[in-house]
């Protein structure tokens, strides 16, 4: 169904989009900037969308993320200035154990190979269906499912009490242990 995007309905997706952005960037501060820029781009002009709003936002978030990566790779690298350092979020410092847990998990997701990370962010963090994720990521549903399987496998092993399996050391999106 084609319809006009209602800006006022987008706020309901903010929390999920922020977690998704954190999982993409690996940092709370960068996630904050990425989400704001994503909303600014989406709302810069009237939009017509097909399908789910959250899937549309996932595509916008991904495009903005890549755009920022390209821009930052062209920009001279400098160390953080004092003004760049933001005070910690008071809600999280009141619950230090929780803050560490959330941060550790999202930063581990940010370390995943890109294809795995995008599939996991779309489905397990943003809550898209497999079909919506496939559309948002321009991939086949079966491909998304396989990437998600591998991504979850790595996250589960990273936060497991069990010793890591040898395949954990592999990088990239090549095959790992298969059940087929």
């Amino acid at each position: 169904m084609v319809r006009r995007l209602d800006p006022q309905s987008l706020g309901q997706h903010l929390d999920a989009l922020y977690r998704a952005a954190w999982a993409l960037c690996g940092s709370r501060e960068d996630a904050d900037d990425l989400v704001q820029e994503t909303f600014a781009r989406v709302l810069a002009r009237p939009r017509v969308i097909r399908g789910d709003e959250r899937g549309y936002l996932m595509r916008a978030l991904r495009n903005t993320f890549y755009s920022r990566l390209r821009t930052s790779s062209r920009r001279p690298q400098t160390g953080p200035q004092l003004d760049d350092v933001q005070p910690p979020d008071p809600r999280s410092t009141n619950q230090p154990e929780r803050a560490v847990e959330v941060g550790e998990i999202l930063e581990a997701v940010a370390e995943l190979p890109e294809d795995f990370r995008m599939a996991l962010v779309a489905i397990d963090i943003l809550g898209l269906s497999y079909a919506e994720a496939a559309k948002a990521l321009d991939a086949r549903e079966a491909t998304i499912t396989t990437r998600l399987y591998r991504a979850r496998q790595r996250i589960a092993r990273q936060f497991s009490d069990q010793p890591a399996a040898p395949s954990d050391s592999r990088e990239g999106s090549g095959p790992e242990r298969s059940l087929a």
Binding site: S92, D124, Y149, F159
Partner: protein, 267 residues
């Protein structure tokens, strides 16, 4: 044959998060029962789903304010009013829930809602901690609606008291547990048909759907076992921890039994 059926990890992925069509579950569960490797792979998928879907970090207030401006939601008076409501002290929210419970206890015959029943899971104990069942080390001697409460010593939580209450003709039995660091949770079982007022994101483990929802400054996990509503609630405890405990209880109840029940339904 579909691509996913040639590669069972695709179906395991979907089984772990509850999105695998029911028609495919029986075959897959039968395969899993025969394969320790698939059993381990499913457990990994479920562990990741639990970790990831329990994340509840909200966007920072500053970001929300900036986005509200962008979306045009931030008509100043309305925003500030809602903000004030949003930051009402947690004590006020709890007091409101307690008041609702008092109304139910003193006069009503209506079944409690989940938030009202959860009040007891966050209250003080009135009975001593029940001992471990000498015949079943995974359970305590106390039961709620015929369901034994779990002994979570292996999970690092020891019993810290209990209480029983009756609301709207429903018996609510609660056991309290504490962690070595002093955190406290309550596990309440409400007899009778499943309660209303369940809202939140869900995670599926061992074929059971767990719902995560906030209540004031507390977090709740609810699910239904044997037709009765189970609630685990705590403050300063993550959803991931609550889910781990709730699903440990279901695992102890018998993942194999669950698989067999599901199989029997579809075969």
């Amino acid at each position: 044959m579909t691509e996913e059926r040639k590669h069972p990890e695709g179906e395991l992925t979907r089984l772990a998060d509850g999105s695998l069509p029911a028609a495919r579950q029986a075959d897959l569960l039968a395969q899993i029962e025969r394969s320790p490797e698939m059993t381990a792979a499913l457990a990994e998928q479920e562990r990741a789903v639990t970790l990831l879907r329990a994340l509840d970090e909200p966007a920072p207030a500053g970001l929300r304010a900036r986005v509200d401006e962008l979306t045009g939601v931030s008509a100043p008076r309305r925003t500030s009013r809602w903000r004030r409501i949003a930051v009402l002290p947690a004590a006020t929210a709890i007091a409101a829930a307690a008041a609702a419970v008092v109304i139910l206890v003193t006069g009503g015959t209506t079944a409690p809602t989940v938030p009202a029943a959860a009040h007891f899971a966050l209250a003080s104990s009135t009975l001593p901690a029940p001992p471990v069942d000498p015949n079943e080390s995974e359970d305590l001697t106390l039961r709620g609606a015929g369901i034994p409460f779990p002994a979570w010593a292996k999970e690092g939580w020891t019993t810290d008291g209990a209480r029983t209450d009756t609301v709207g003709g429903r018996r609510i039995t609660t056991v309290f547990y504490k962690s070595p660091s002093g955190k406290r949770i309550g596990y309440a079982i409400t007899g009778g048909t499943p309660l209303s007022g369940v809202h939140g994101s869900t995670a599926t483990r061992y074929g059971v759907t767990f719902t995560m929802q906030p209540a004031g400054d507390a977090k709740l996990i609810t699910w239904v076992r044997n037709g009765h509503t189970c609630i685990i609630a705590g403050r300063d405890v993550s959803y991931a921890t609550l889910l781990r405990l709730a699903s440990a209880d279901e695992r102890a109840e018998g993942a194999g039994a669950q698989a067999r029940v599901t199989l029997a339904r579809y075969v």
